[in-house]
């Protein structure tokens, strides 16, 4: 009995020890993570080259652990001592590493421990086994159904006429000379009217659409997904199209704006797979490589911006020359959201023209949109309107529309 309890005691002791060790390990890794992100992460990544080298396997690259500690505390001193690996490292990156003299051995070991555990983790690739979400398009089904029904109706009509003929024969009524349906006047008139209506509809629709490019969705030189950039990563529209608030043109960003982020981001690791409008899968990393080709950039090497060549994007929204449209007037003064005219761009992988950009579309918006008077210096001169709004002469809930301040005058846009 005593034997057993002693054994149990040992067991409990052992478990407790193991548990404590485990806890200690966890705390150790956590500490390493905090230290890493506070001191190292701005220049180093575990798995990728950044300002400095990727740190996975760093302990194996340094033959001497003492030397590595010395390097982290004061890299300049190690370089001066002429240690060949250190000198090569400096020559490769051409940037001096900050000194971390305050690190204790335990701190450095904690960081190295964190790097080891991070490096051992497998990288997560994009996962989306379901493929593209098939948009339920029922028009084909409806078309087939209509065709089937039409055939059934036609057969029934034939059956009906045959039966009547049989009945007439039985009753002894002399059968009329059967008129084939393509010479039947009712049929011909019916078909003519249908053709006129359908043909007229498509002719008018086509004529109105001439020169308008609604839903135009060209293939661009690089598959650039607005959904990933403006949607998932929440980049403001004005980060790239900054001129929308300052000039007539919203402007397409130059390559250096892309490279602000893509100097560091050289592969697509998003959770969602990318698909083009036809539903074919797109390799995001390969598209970033296309950007590097335009930029003349090799990952891991300093970028010379003067080697970049412009990307010739295909223009989608194009107003005729006889219409004046100014982005800054709408974005800065009018405080109109980009999505009002461009649709939910932050959900589009490939951009397509959302509005038809017709004159009726412009005018309708000018008739219904209220002028944003509040805290808006651009409209402070409309004193009469301000007064009338205050006096209650104008219904403040309805506000002042763009039309009331001259937004539908011909010369506003055509001159």
């Amino acid at each position: 009995m005593i034997h057993l309890s002693r054994f149990a005691g040992k067991l409990i002791f052992g478990f407790t020890l193991a548990f404590l060790l485990q806890l200690g390990n966890g705390a150790f890794a956590q500490d390493g993570k905090a230290l890493f992100s506070a001191n190292c992460a701005s220049c180093h990544s575990v798995t990728k080259k950044s300002t400095g080298p990727a740190l996975a396997g760093v302990e194996d690259r340094w033959p001497d652990k003492k030397m590595l500690h010395a390097w982290i505390r004061n890299s300049q001193a190690v370089i001066k001592s002429g240690y060949p690996y250190a000198v090569n490292l400096y020559n490769e990156y051409k940037i001096a590493m900050n000194s971390f003299t305050s690190f204790s051995d335990a701190d450095i070991d904690a960081i190295l421990g964190y790097i080891k555990t991070e490096a051992a983790k497998k990288p997560e690739g994009p996962t989306n086994p379901d493929g593209p979400v098939a948009e339920s398009d029922n028009s084909l089904l409806f078309g087939i159904l209509t065709l089937v029904l039409a055939v059934v109706a036609f057969i029934l009509l034939q059956v009906n006429s045959n039966l009547r003929k049989l009945a007439d024969d039985k009753d002894g009524i002399p059968a009329q000379e059967p008129v084939p349906f393509w010479r039947n006047k009712t049929y011909i008139a019916f078909v003519a009217v249908i053709l006129f209506l359908v043909g007229g509809f498509f002719t008018v629709k086509g004529a109105i659409g001439l020169g308008r490019t609604q839903n135009y969705e060209p293939k661009q030189p690089i598959f650039y997904s607005h959904k990933v950039h403006a949607g998932t990563n929440q980049i403001n529209c004005l980060y790239c199209h900054g001129n929308a608030q300052e000039s007539k043109q919203a402007t397409i960003p130059s390559v250096n704006v892309c490279m602000n982020c893509h100097m560091s981001i050289n592969e697509y690791t998003g959770k969602d797979k990318l698909f083009n409008a036809e539903g074919e899968e797109v390799n995001g990393t390969a598209e970033i490589q296309k950007l590097y080709k335009y930029a003349g950039f090799t990952p891991g090497q300093p970028w010379d911006a003067s080697k970049a060549t412009p990307i010739e994007w295909t223009r989608i929204h194009n107003l005729p020359d006889h219409v004046y449209f100014n982005h800054s007037q709408h974005v800065a003064a009018g405080k109109v959201q980009c999505q009002t005219c461009h649709g939910e761009i932050n959900k589009m992988d490939e951009v397509k023209q959302f509005a038809d950009l017709s004159m009726g579309w412009c005018i309708n918006c000018h008739r219904t949109t209220q002028v944003q008077f509040k805290d808006n210096g651009y409209y402070s001169i409309y004193e009469k309107y301000h007064e009338n709004l205050k006096n209650g002469k104008f219904d403040s809930t309805k506000g002042i529309t763009v039309e009331m301040i001259g937004g539908t005058e011909c010369q506003k846009c055509h001159y």
């Binding site: 043109q249 602000n260 998003g270 223009r315 005729p320």
Partner: protein, 212 residues
Amino acid sequence: MKKLSIIFVLAAGVTIVGCSDVKRKPGAVYMPDMGDSRAYETYADHKHLADSGIFYNNRPVNGTIARGEELPFPLAKDAVGDSTNYVASKAIPNPLPALNAAELKEAERLYLINCGICHGSKLDGNGPLYKGGDGPYVAKPAQLVGAQYDNMPDGQMFYSVQYGKNMMGSYASQLSRKQRWSIIHYIKAKQAEAKGGSAAPAAQDSTSTAKK
């Protein structure tokens, strides 16, 4: 009759299958006489202008300064591996006077559009592109509030925004010099706020400019 119906069904099938709703071509235009611009529009191809002896490179003449714009930064970009001008930039003061409330608000808006994506809306270096390491950005962006950057002089900040630093690119093409200096004012104001200084951010700013 039978042959006709087979042809009809086949033709209908081809039209239905061939009709993709992805519009890759812009469509037809009728008499675009007043649609196409005769003048050179933005992004129009003007490569052949040089053949007619017209010089045009869509850049301002060297040395010109736009109305209302600040004077150019006096230091050039360091060569790779050199940091002379980066260190020298510490001595350059912020040419803008302390911002008033409206200007500070505009500077904040510009910060959130151009800087917040990496440096975070709280200036904690944890913007949506980094997300504590989960975002696509590899390097941890600088935590602008905190000991490391609290003491960084305005001029050195401007150097980094103008020419880029480490993984950060140059923002000279996206923000005017005036906007860049005003954003630095905003960052300094936020740093003072985070330190818990009872002094108004604007006042704090003017002292930091005067100090050089």
